[in-house]
Amino acid sequence: MNPPDGQPPVDADRDDGPQLHQGWIAPEVAEEFPALALIECELPLPGDRRSPRGVRDQLAALSDRHRGATALALRREPVAGAYRIFFRHIGLEPDVTRTPIEAAVLERLLRGGFISRGLLEDALLLAVVHTSVPVWALDARSRDGRLGIRPARAGERLGRAAGAPPLAAGRLVVADQSAPLAVLFGALGPECEVRRDTATVTLFSVQVAGVPFIHVDEALWVATSTIAPH
């Protein structure tokens, strides 16, 4: 499944979970970041959105493993460090706009533990804490075709709704065929957020240079197997 160069396979078949699809990358972005990839999959959400005891126990066990020294040393770890470097490459200061794994660990330090917030949120948290690779979820109804990464065009908004927040031209976004759905490593568009009536979610992750595909695969596997144990 994982090709030798660490690049993501297109539409990888998985025996133990939903099928992974590789998103598109706009040519001008791909030229700058040849290793950048977006991987997505879709899966149904169970009716009960509460985290089972096993998930809450996992979060508690992970809380014990992440302390101040771990948080600081994260930036020297290859995968977490790769996201820091990518943040710098796209103009984000990782000590101001934290990478997802650093944000999660910092919150654990501030709150005294990884707090359970429901099945989906916990699944995404487990994925990032286990692998340092971020996973996001959006309501599958809000998308139109495959997801990809591109710069926003002048006058575009974050989402298709009339009242959606405007986007500055050139901002890197995760988009579908017709509209930006989320700022890259940032906020989701209002209508893309998973709501109480969401039946199917799209999980997506972003692979950057220095992160082997197996970590992205693992992150999505952790998230999907937490939401819907195989």
Binding site: A26, P27, E32, L72, A73, R75, R88, V96, L184
Partner: protein, 168 residues
């Protein structure tokens, strides 16, 4: 705009062979700058973790502090100038961090020598104190030269070095 009009159309780009030399040069320069930024980021991370390992938490916090406010930052493709600015800023931070770390290491070394002297001749260093953190060690212990048996030791010149736990 209709959905069809908004469909992403990849911009038409020149084949690499057809590009003007200046553009090819800029692409190479950008690639080089990105790899320099990556190396500097790793160097900065190494310096910060080294500070922490030597119990200089205050220095680690100082190094982690970004040098310029970047509240308006948003993910985007950086221009050559922006990449250069970021590389220069990171390089400055790495140099400053290493200098501060080196100063701190010198200070720790000086304190270690002082502690050696205190241990050799406590009577010459009466009531002097050195905290573990001033030696680059973890914990909150304090080395102090005290008279043995209190007032009697003070009058008799019996001095010793004691390590207090220091922790509340």
């Amino acid at each position: 705009m209709s959905g069809a009009e908004q469909t992403l159309q990849p911009p038409v780009r020149d084949a690499p062979g057809d590009r003007p030399e200046a553009l090819v040069g800029e692409i190479a320069a950008r690639r080089s700058l990105r790899s320099q930024i990556a190396k500097l980021e790793r160097d900065l991370a190494d310096t910060l973790v080294t500070c922490f390992a030597h119990a200089s938490v205050d220095l680690a916090a100082e190094i982690a502090e970004p040098s310029a406010p970047t509240s308006a930052a948003a993910p985007r493709l950086l221009t050559l100038r922006e990449l250069e600015r970021q590389r220069d800023d990171l390089a400055r931070r790495v140099v400053q961090a290493r200098r501060r770390l080196s100063e701190r290491a010198t200070e720790h070394e000086r304190n270690r020598v002082r502690l050696e002297r205190m241990l050799l001749e406590p009577g010459r260093h009466r009531f002097q104190r050195i905290a573990n953190r001033d030696l680059g060690l973890g914990g909150c212990g304090v080395w102090a030269v005290r008279p043995r048996l209190g007032l009697i030791g003070m009058l008799a010149g019996w001095w010793e070095v004691k390590l207090s736990s220091g922790c509340p």
